[in-house]
């Protein structure tokens, strides 16, 4: 097996890696996925909330990986009042163990291969070009030859760095997270809940994503630069003691969510980065599953075309960088500017924002009416939001 040669090796079999592998294989490339863990999707480091519109182009809905159906969101302000948003699209809370496995299986059905317990540890270079990947499997160091390496290796990505793409993020561009899966609790059945405020969760938020009649993923993300003195778990324990004093904790996971500005440079000669590895995460919501899948399709198609054309240099692969920026990357850059504004907001500001939202009738709950209300209530905030958009536009040139 290790002597085999592939066109494309994908490091990491999360959602981004599996979709990349599927589209590259469908385009005629020989593809191998290397996954460090024993199987894709485990352990789950995710609150598992996704929009229906985001995932359904890639997979048929299946009860096996749908834990709950979501009709909207409730936003809680630090002062205790809240606003419901029920006209902003529907979603699922996933069973990601099963979801990720199914995405990997779809790649295999398209002709890709998968090797688990295979920990990529470096690149193979030949005549100044990328010629393969070194990995550890059952304690043995092996190499696999290929022409394109795709780094789909998550928040802990190193593939980019091996190829000279600096993917390190600033402390303010990562949320440090702790999540409990709680049982024996009462939640709102079809709403995801979010709690904001500097006392609750500095620079981030607490989430409650229902998974069944009496269970939910309840977690917290704290902005890295505000996490020096108190660990996210301490904030979470305080929150759970207040809201769910009788809960049982079934699972605990830790994790990090990159909330960075979308980098423009995500390919190199023989190298492409997708998903968390390319910091393709919405910096305001922290959602990265759909982003990784959208990028995976583009990366997989571009990789297959590059293999066909015989040119795997950045000249060809940068078509992927461009497609990503156009589809979601530029929006992510705008969101990042907004996040920077939100990071500077005090609790009083949050309270005012939520009171403003409360005045908008549900049926009219879209960005336009929000904007209209917000102008009336808090012209300064609107000016700041507008400036955030403007700054991004100028920077985007």
């Amino acid at each position: 097996m290790s002597a085999r040669e592939y066109d494309v090796v994908v490091v990491g079999a999360g959602p981004a890696g599996s979709i990349t592998a599927r589209f590259a294989a469908q385009g005629g490339a020989g593809v191998l996925m290397l996954e460090r863990d024993r199987e894709p999707g485990i352990p789950v480091r995710c609150a598992e909330g996704v929009s229906r519109a985001g995932i359904e182009p890639y997979i048929e809905p299946d009860e096996r990986w749908i834990a709950a159906r979501i009709e909207g969101a409730r936003l809680h302000a630090p002062g205790g009042h809240f606003v419901d948003m029920t006209h902003v699209g529907t979603g699922y809370v996933l069973e990601r163990r099963i979801f990720d496995t199914e995405l990997a299986n779809m790649a295999l059905r398209a002709g890709a291969h998968l090797l688990c317990k295979a920990d990529a540890v470096g690149l193979v270079h030949e005549d100044g070009r990328i010629a393969g990947v070194k990995y550890r499997h059952n304690g043995e160091l092996r190499t696999v030859r290929c022409r394109i390496v795709v780094g789909a290796d998550g928040v802990e990505s190193r593939v980019g760095r091996w190829a000279g793409i600096d993917t390190a993020v600033a402390l303010s561009d990562i949320d440090t997270c702790c999540q409990y899966t709680l049982a024996g609790i009462e939640t709102l059945p079809n709403l995801c809940e979010f709690y904001f405020g500097n006392g609750v969760s500095p620079g981030g938020y607490v989430w409650i994503f229902p998974k069944g009649p009496d269970t939910a993923n309840v977690g917290i993300g704290v902005a890295g630069h505000l996490a020096a003195n108190k660990a996210p778990r301490e904030y979470l324990d305080e929150f759970v003691a207040r809201r769910f004093p009788d809960a049982r904790i079934n699972y605990i996971v830790y994790g990090g969510v990159p909330t960075a500005c979308s980098p423009r440079h995500i390919s190199e000669d023989g190298i492409m980065l997708v998903g968390d590895a390319a910091r393709q995460v919405n910096p305001i919501t922290g959602g990265g599953v759909v982003q990784g899948m959208v990028a995976g399709e583009m990366a997989g198609r571009t990789a297959a075309e590059a293999i066909k054309s015989g040119d795997v240099s950045r000249r060809t692969l940068k078509a992927y960088d461009k497609a990503w920026m156009k589809a979601l990357g530029n929006t992510q850059r705008t969101m990042w500017s907004l996040k920077e504004r939100f990071l500077k907001m005090d609790d009083e500001r949050f309270n005012r924002l939520v009171s403003t939202f409360q005045k908008v009738p549900q049926e009219q709950f879209d960005l336009k009416s929000l904007f209209k209300e917000a102008i009336r209530e808090d012209p300064k905030l609107v000016a700041e939001v507008a400036r955030a958009f403007l700054v991004t536009k100028i920077r985007g040139k």
Partner: protein, 59 residues
């Protein structure tokens, strides 16, 4: 910098903020290469499990 392997959840958050790529993750452990580490403290601050300590620090 030292990783306490009984606290570490192998979540990889520390790797993302290390400016000099001094941290390696495997399925079972996380390791900091001290001859590369510049002691900037980034990993310490974002580790959600608080598994990293300054070497020689009593805490």
């Amino acid at each position: 910098m030292k990783v306490n392997s009984s606290l570490c959840d192998i979540c990889g958050t520390c790797v993302a903020v290390c400016p000099v790529d001094a941290i390696r993750v495997s399925e079972f452990c996380v390791h900091i290469e001290m001859d590369v580490c510049t002691q900037c403290g980034n990993c310490l601050q974002v580790c959600p499990a608080r598994a990293i300590t300054v070497e020689g620090d009593a805490s």
